[in-house]
């Protein structure tokens, strides 16, 4: 048994098999969630390449799987990444179970996760672009609603994600040619431009971001939240892996400046748009864009502390997104329109969902004592040492999200019919409250809650 078989082939095949029983609620959700949780636990306890014992038996999980001369490799340092990705996937699948998400969510979600994990394992690294594109194609039936024609958001998503692939592949080829071509400087510059374009398409960097709010609006918010957050999180890992793998890229100060500007522009654009959003789905889309911007800002700090902020920010990021999406999913399941004017008095009808939605936006806005606050504070502190103006711009944009949160709060508690509470289901309420507790605990005890995430950085030894 090798690690790629365990963490790529097994979930991929399980996903394909689940397609056959996708409508037998709740089994696809239970199996997907259970398998993802088991794989996350396996990543915590079983290190690829290191021996472990079960009673008298001594076993080792191999690190490598070779396919057509190319290798899929997981080393012991990748365990943190695998645990995080499958742990988060399990969270989304169990959330989907509570929400009674459509049957297609579980098999396609599991296959998408397996493909994205494969993209992190493949060597040479340039092949990752092809696997990301395959994950995007798998996500299309997940995001398209079977009862209506796809809108511009889904088509733009497909276009922009597909256009990212050629740029990254060409950049990978250029980087592989460095050894045999004498004009290295020119080649590095060209490869940087191509890489920058490729990752910009994938991460919805300004101006390629318009599809995100549209996609969330057109698709089911929970499914869109899963697909976009998983995809962009793995692409961020790929980006870190690129920077980790190439000395010239790590030593290139200009690249870090570009990352910083791109990240700040994403946060500013998303913050301003969020302040004027009247639809929760669009607000969620802007949160997704700004989260990627914050991740780029953390990576742009060019220091161990910056990477630690990037790693520790992953949990609040994914928790906030999952909670926000779950809250919206619960409302859409009950045919509640997610426009602010239609949500008046929501706090009386769906008290837990309304509270969680507001809390998620406030947490994202960096309100003290909530999940994102400790990470944001650290980021602002370090960023201020490099560029104070940028910190002011980012802070002002974050205020846009807080403003959106206050508008939501006002709409939820004011007006409305004041009818009886319709209330969420028990499982839904349990998931919402557990997630909220987690967000508050991260805010109150960031050290113990987030320290484990630093294991993710073991996959990028040159960036630590």
């Amino acid at each position: 048994m090798s690690a790629p078989i365990l963490w790529v082939l097994l979930p991929g095949l399980a996903g394909a098999a689940l397609l056959l029983v996708r409508n037998r609620h709740p089994w696809p959700g239970v199996i997907s969630g259970g398998l993802s949780a088991a794989l996350a636990l396996a990543a915590v306890f079983l290190q690829p390449g290191e021996a472990f014992g079960i009673g008298p038996l001594q076993m080792t999980i191999g690190t490598t799987l070779t396919v057509f001369g190319r290798r899929f490799v997981f080393l012991a340092g990748d365990s943190g990444l695998l645990a995080l990705i499958y742990g988060v996937a399990a969270l989304w699948f169990f959330g989907g179970l509570a929400l009674r998400a459509p049957g297609r969510f579980y098999p396609l979600g599991l296959m998408m996760t397996a493909l994205l994990v494969a993209a992190l394992a493949v060597e040479p690294f340039l092949y990752a672009a092809l696997l990301v594109e395959m994950a995007v194609l798998v996500s299309i039936p997940l995001l398209a609603e079977p009862d209506r024609r796809p809108g511009f958001g889904l088509l733009r998503y497909l276009i922009f994600q597909s256009l990212g692939m050629p740029f990254v592949l060409l950049a990978g080829w250029m980087l592989g040619s460095v050894e045999v071509i004498p004009e290295r400087e020119l080649l590095f510059r060209q490869a940087s431009v191509l890489l920058g374009l490729g990752f910009s398409f994938w991460l919805a960097v300004f101006p390629f971001y318009t599809w995100v709010p549209l996609l969330v609006e057109e698709s089911r918010p929970y499914l869109a939240g899963f697909a976009v957050s998983m995809l962009t999180t793995v692409v961020l890992f790929m980006m870190a892996d690129f920077i980790n793998g190439f000395t010239w890229l790590r030593g290139n100060a200009g690249m870090y400046q570009v990352l910083q500007i791109a990240g700040a522009v994403m946060v500013v654009v998303a913050g301003v748009s969020a302040a004027f959003s009247r639809k929760l789905q669009r607000l969620f889309g802007h949160v997704l864009i700004a989260e990627n911007g914050f991740a780029l800002l953390a990576m742009s700090l060019r220091s161990q502390a910056g990477m630690e902020i990037f790693a520790t920010g992953l949990l609040p990021r994914l928790m906030t997104l999952a909670l926000f999406a779950l809250g919206m999913g619960i409302l859409t399941n009950r045919n509640v329109r997610l426009d602010l004017p239609d949500l008046q008095g929501l706090a009386r009808r769906f008290p837990v969902s309304a509270g969680v939605l507001v809390l998620a936006v406030f947490s994202f806005g960096g309100l003290p004592l909530l999940g994102s606050f400790p990470v944001r504070q650290g980021l602002y502190e370090l960023l201020a040492g490099q560029n104070v103006n940028l910190v002011f711009a980012v802070l002002a944009s974050t205020a846009g999200f807080l403003l959106a949160g206050f508008r939501m709060l006002a709409a939820f508690i004011v007006g409305g019919s004041g009818g009886e509470a319709e209330a969420e289901g028990d499982l839904e309420r349990l998931m919402l409250l557990a997630g909220t507790l987690c967000l508050v605990l991260i805010g109150l005890l960031p050290g113990p809650m987030l320290r484990g995430l630093l294991q993710v950085l073991l996959a990028f030894p040159n960036l630590r």
């Binding site: 299309i140 039936p141 079977p146 088509l155």
Partner: protein, 198 residues
Amino acid sequence: MSLVQTLLTVIPSALLAATTATILLGRRWRYAIIALGVQYLIVFWLAQQVLPFGLAAVKLVSGWMAAALISTSLPGGESLEEEDPAPSWLVFRAVAAGFVLIVVASIYPAVATWIPVDTEILLGGCILIGMGLIQLGMSTGVPRVILGLLTVLSGFEVFYAALEDSVLVAGLLAMITTGLAVAGSYLMSLPVRHEEAG
């Protein structure tokens, strides 16, 4: 450059310009699918100059499979458009296509400094990518977006065939081509959107 060499460079490029223009300007989906099939034949012709015959054939087979898959899901009528476009539609697209071809002809020597491949392959790839991008930029319907994406990716495949001859890459690219067609077919098979209440 001898006359034969010049012809070998010009003929595939001219054919690609014709097929991409047919897809961009044509309103009947049958012509678009035929043009797509011919396009993959020329992609195969260009690829087999730099790849082993078997690997180049993979591109042809996957391209034709993609064309076949799309054709099974296209609307029952003749037209690729949901509504009849205005007469200026054709003129506008033709002018845009002309501009793209002029731009491609003028920039492909500069592209050669980034991607050092034969002129024939470079020109063919640039035409496919340029015309595919203009198709993507001017279309909102699923069939045209999928045709545009397939055109752009086939242009990239032409370039990449000259740079990388890996079996795994060829296989994965073929899977992406057919996957894109499958995704497109699925999207085209969905019913027309009904406006939400209110």
